[in-house]
């Protein structure tokens, strides 16, 4: 038995680390979301799974009263949100360090995800995202292209998810 890490030439599914980014969890009543969206400079989507991007900031609607905001590190979204706090009471929490992001791509990426994700990933429209489970670990899955995904994983679940991804990658490369 060997313990060498194999490098397969033809990458059917590529898993890459993404650079750290600013992530904010926003909870606000649906009635106040428009006010807050105006302050942040984007129109907060109301449909679960929908995404809106403006000026480097991206908002994903996770639930009826929950949004995930992503932006480049150093972006200040707290100050404009604080300015409208009296009109639109909300909770805005920095969760940048809670999760790590992976980029999953390649021709077999759907098979890679289907191995551990119960949701029908192939049916996810491009440009949407969803919180789902990956072998019981909660992840947020973003579909950026037909074979181009991002996955946000809670930091403590990351070794488990990475190990599974590596194992499935090996199986795909071996033609299983």
């Amino acid at each position: 038995m060997t313990y060498e890490k194999h490098h397969f030439a033809a990458a059917l599914a590529v898993v890459e680390d993404l650079a750290p980014a600013l992530r904010l969890s926003l909870r606000v009543k649906p009635a106040h979301s428009a006010t807050l969206g105006q302050a942040l400079g984007l129109d907060l989507p109301t449909r679960v799974g929908a995404r809106v991007a403006a000026g480097g900031t991206e908002a994903l609607c996770l639930g009826p009263d929950e949004w995930l905001l992503t932006a480049p590190e150093g972006t200040d979204l707290a100050t404009p949100a604080r300015a409208v706090y009296a009109d639109a009471p909300h909770s805005l929490v920095d969760i940048s360090d809670r999760e790590i992001s992976l980029r999953l791509s390649g021709p077999a990426v759907l098979d890679l995800l289907a191995a551990c994700c119960p949701r029908n990933v192939a049916a996810m429209p491009v440009g949407t995202a969803a919180r789902t489970v990956f072998d019981s670990a909660t992840v947020i899955l973003w579909r950026d292209g037909p074979a181009d995904f991002r996955m946000d994983i809670w930091r403590s679940f990351a070794p488990h998810v990475r190990a599974l991804l590596a194992q499935v990658q090996g199986e795909l490369a071996a033609g299983l």
Partner: protein, 96 residues
Amino acid sequence: MLLIHCPYCEDSLPELEFAYAGEAHIARPADPSTLSDEEWRDFLFIRTNARGPHYERWRHISCGRFFNALRDTVSDRFLMTYKAGQPRPQLNEAAE
């Protein structure tokens, strides 16, 4: 795999994204200190244990919301799901 319709996501999604959360439509007493021991026991522990259609709460991991479902405990078929806070639908409504 069982597909459950989430009334908030408006989509039928796999069972693994959902968690069961007990019987639905059990309101917490407004003032628990005025209840007798028997009434408090009934609130805490006494459940319908239905054989057939059962009103129950579920939580969807994806949108983080609790909702209510009417499920047949014999066939495990979901007759309908509806948002939390809505009144209990009648059985003949669910059959339509």
